[in-house]
Amino acid sequence: MAHKTYQYCVAENWGKGFITHNDAVKLEFRSFPGNVWRVPAHNQDANRWVAGVNGSHKTLSEAQAIVDAEVTQAQADWDALPAEQKAPTAGFESITRPTDITLTE
């Protein structure tokens, strides 16, 4: 079985205390669309954090599906924007089209 580097969960960021500075010293956090969070696998601190934030564990494919759905919707929203917001033009700041995200384990 391939060794996993990361694990994924879905958890709602409620603000202060969701990730503390002590958490951040111990763990590397990455967030993705759809409230998907990536933390190290096979790590007791990470397991405790997921439990502490009432996170719902997701497999790689489950997490990827959630992210894909969010990105697809965001891309559709971007495509529907007026042209001046898509391309940099005088006086208007462009909004970047969301790109596909590939999660790794």
Partner: protein
């Protein structure tokens, strides 16, 4: 087995707070019934903070405050171009955000005085629909915004630092006819002083009138050329610094940072946005702990030691807020048995 008293020469104290504790000290926290260790952070870290009431972006967003616990966020755009720019303001007290009184002119990409206090800030220019930027200026007294003497030119995405009574605004838009113009506010009026020596818009700026720092930005805003340039202002003239590691614009600055200790978070690489953090120590830029996710145009308020990054685009507008605690900062850790 040796006891703590034998090693340290004193027993573990019982204290209600960390007041007066020193690096390396262990004490019993009577308020929380836990053993604590006073330590110094070795790396910078991001923690989550209460989200803004609504997602906002555009700028970087107007944001002032010298700590993580007292921040004013104003303006920007929640959805789209004019007339969608908002007059909304929100004030953070370290615990929660409260809606504040509105700004007079809805705009984004305004420049803020770095001011150490949210009770006396200055908001200059921005884009409210006038190509090239506005020349409007508003003062904040801790409660309300009021109109102040206007700038000599319209400006958007300028470099700005200082206080409500002593501030520098430089470069920014429009790219022509005076892209390097620098103006000083002395508390009474604006005057034009030595130009920047370079042109850019929507970079990061911080500091005071006599010790300011400006980095990155778009050379042909809102085009595709982002730059690594960094410059300092000493109250009289601009000096080129060593370059940042990565060219970027729309990064979030530590508005109260100094030319000897500043940081920038995220930004736009054209193409794509980044989660990079770069620290400046007065001589060179270094990469450090990255944001949990890429972000641009967030509001940055605070110092290299303690900063609040609010809102921005990731790449869609976000209301999430992060606390940054830099390396070398005193931190209190809870000692557990695991």
């Amino acid at each position: 087995m040796a006891e703590y008293r034998e090693i340290q020469g004193a027993a573990v104290q019982s204290l209600a707070s960390n007041t007066g504790t020193i690096e390396g000290q262990i004490w019993y926290d009577t308020a929380n019934n836990a053993f604590k260790l006073q330590s110094i952070s070795t790396i910078g870290t991001f923690a989550t903070a209460p989200s803004l009431p609504v997602a906002r972006t555009g700028g970087p967003m107007f944001s002032v405050g010298s700590t993580q616990d007292a921040v004013l966020s104003a303006g920007a755009n929640p959805a789209g171009p004019p007339p969608d720019y908002t007059t909304r303001t929100d004030v953070y007290d370290g615990t929660s955000w409260t809606a504040g009184n509105p700004i007079t002119t809805a705009a984004r990409n305004s420049v803020a005085s770095g001011g150490a206090s949210t009770a006396a800030a200055k908001m200059v220019g921005g884009f409210s629909g006038t190509t090239g930027g506005d020349n409007t200026v508003e003062d904040y007294d801790g409660t309300c915004f009021t109109a102040a003497p206007v700038m000599t030119k319209g400006t958007e995405g300028a470099a700005g630092f200082g206080t409500q009574t002593a501030m520098v605004v430089s470069a920014g838009g429009p790219i022509s006819p005076a892209p390097q113009q620098t103006d000083e506010w002395n508390g009474v009026s604006w005057s034009t002083v030595n130009p920047t020596g370079r042109t850019a818009q929507t970079g990061a700026s911080s500091g005071t009138l006599t010790a300011g720092l400006w980095s990155g930005g778009f050379k042909n805003y809102p085009g595709t050329i982002v730059i690594t340039d960094s410059s300092s202002y000493d109250g009289t003239s601009w000096t080129a610094n060593n370059a940042m590691n990565t060219a970027k614009g729309s990064q979030s600055p530590t508005t109260t940072g100094t030319p000897a200790a500043s940081a920038v978070f995220g930004g736009n690489l054209r193409p794509g946005i980044t989660n990079q953090t770069e620290l400046y120590d007065g001589t060179s830029w270094s990469n450090t702990t990255t944001l949990p996710a890429a972000r641009e145009n967030g509001g940055g308020a605070g110092t290299q030691a303690a900063c609040l990054i609010s809102g921005g685009s990731a790449p869609s507008p976000t209301n999430t807020v992060l606390e940054w605690t830099g390396p070398g900062v005193a931190v209190t850790k809870t000692i557990t048995t695991t």
